[in-house]
């Protein structure tokens, strides 16, 4: 039984079309078919947030989505955050404030921070902590992540 389907997406601004097995999760297609391994697989249960990407402007956990369900949508992955080869303001703030250690949670943290800052340009510490409550980090203890996001907000103000 062969029931592969064609999936058409816009990924980081570029039209992409791939043949997939409908059993594929979106995160698997991003990493293995689109060859964008910056999006990470952590738990596959929706708890850790390492697989966070943007779909049509909203952040989602791409392990909770069938790739087939993303047909026609616009996806932004971590590879799409840099601007003209330069780190975005948010990425630079994480770099400067040691907002990551092993880096596994980093793509998800960046997307949650981006979602927050798009709605709230000068968040309080509590609001920052609330905004990353769908993302687990096992290195930093979160303090430097919170500082990085506050720093990014300050630099954008």
């Amino acid at each position: 039984m062969t029931n592969s389907i064609r999936l058409n997406l816009t990924v980081n601004g570029e039209a992409r079309s791939v043949e997939i097995d409908p059993r594929r999760l979106l995160v698997e297609v991003i990493r293995e078919e689109l060859e964008l391994p910056g999006t990470h697989i952590g738990c596959l249960t929706g708890d850790c947030g390492a697989c966070t990407v943007e779909r049509d402007g909203q952040i989602i956990k791409s392990c909770l989505a069938l790739a087939a369900s993303a047909e026609g949508s616009e996806i932004t992955t971590i590879e799409g955050l840099a601007e003209n080869g330069e780190l975005s303001t948010l990425q630079q703030a994480f770099w400067d404030e040691y907002g990551f250690q092993c880096g596994y949670c980093l793509p998800g943290m960046l997307f949650s921070a981006k979602d927050l800052l798009a709605q709230n340009a000068s968040p309080s510490e509590d609001e920052i902590r609330h905004a990353i409550n769908g993302n687990l980090c096992r290195c930093t203890g979160y303090d430097t992540i919170v500082k990085s996001i506050a720093e990014a907000a300050a630099r954008t103000a």
């Binding site: 039984m1 029931n3 389907i5 097995d21 409908p22 059993r23 594929r24 999760l25 698997e28 596959l44 249960t45 929706g46 708890d47 947030g49 966070t52 909203q58 952040i59 989602i60 956990k61 392990c63 909770l64 989505a65 069938l66 087939a68 369900s69 047909e71 949650s112 979602d115 927050l116 905004a131 990353i132 409550n133 769908g134 993302n135 687990l136």
Partner: protein
């Protein structure tokens, strides 16, 4: 990758969804927001031969209905939390939606309708829907029926939803005069499932007296239950009303649910204070 092969379809009308479900019956799994059923398939807990995705069937969105609201089955938590009509006419549902565990990602993806259909005892939606006296509108290829939320939840992981049926929408009645809403969720850590939830809607007159009240507790019993609030009607929302609600909520916690997060005995113990905090949140 999900292990068992399945055929995938995302029909563009509800009628086509219903035809597919009529054809495949128990072999079909419905995917809404995906936050529950997709990981269940990933881990092999569900192995359907057919997956019917609702994303193109036009079931998302909130509309006004007889002074209340109609919530399409595919409406996400984020849409509910950001809709001023929800805040105004069903405020506790907005509070519930904004407080869903899992981060903004899950609130953009997950749906209150999907959560209801899986009837997880300790999830947020069941208690909130029973508290608001919601009606679940179900469709199949041959039938449509409306079921009160308090009847829809039949037990742990058991909803009144037959093979071939799908939830089309949830109707919320017009709120009572002077309605105030309260919602409270107890969880032990930030990333945890709820341990117990309570939702109340209280009508309050110009003198601050309660004219009518409805309060439901979720997560404690295997299904949500309505607390007897008759003794607080006529008085203010105060310490006396709160104490009465504590006793009433505990005395109805007769079929407590146990899981790895909390024993039934613990849930029974906290039911009173959770109900009280929901009432005081409406003050």
């Amino acid at each position: 990758m999900i292990k068992r092969r399945f055929a995938y379809q995302a029909p563009s009308t509800l009628d086509e969804v219903l035809a597919a479900l009529a054809e495949h019956g128990a072999d079909a799994e419905v995917v809404g927001g995906g936050t529950w059923v997709v990981p269940e398939m990933t881990h092999g807990a569900r192995m359907p031969a057919h997956v019917v995705d609702l994303r193109n069937a036009g079931l998302a969105g909130v509309t006004e209905s007889n002074g209340g609201l109609s919530i399409g089955a595919m409406t996400t938590y984020a849409e509910l939390a950001n809709d001023s009509r929800v805040v105004e006419r069903a405020g506790s549902l907005g509070t519930m939606a904004a407080g869903i565990t899992g981060g903004a990602q899950v609130r953009y993806q997950g749906t209150v309708g999907g959560s209801a259909c899986y009837a997880t005892p300790s999830s947020d939606a069941p208690g909130a829907l029973v508290g608001l006296d919601a009606t679940m509108n179900l469709r199949s290829a041959s039938n449509s029926r409306a079921v009160a939320a308090s009847d829809f939840f039949k037990g742990a992981f058991e909803a009144d939803l037959a093979d071939g049926e799908v939830l089309e929408s949830i109707t919320l009645p017009a709120p009572m005069a002077g309605a105030r809403f309260g919602h409270y969720k107890l969880k032990l850590v930030e990333s945890s499932w709820p341990i117990a939830t309570a939702t109340c809607v209280v009508g309050v007159d110009g003198e601050g007296k309660i004219t009518a009240a409805r309060l439901a507790v979720g997560g404690v019993n295997t299904k949500p239950y309505v607390v007897d609030t008759s003794s607080i009607v006529g008085g203010p929302i105060d310490g006396g009303a709160a104490a009465a609600v504590v006793e009433a909520a505990r005395s109805s916690a007769t079929d407590p649910y146990s899981d790895v997060l909390a024993s039934g005995e613990y849930r029974q113990q906290v039911s009173g204070v959770v109900a009280k905090r929901a009432l005081l949140a409406a003050a």
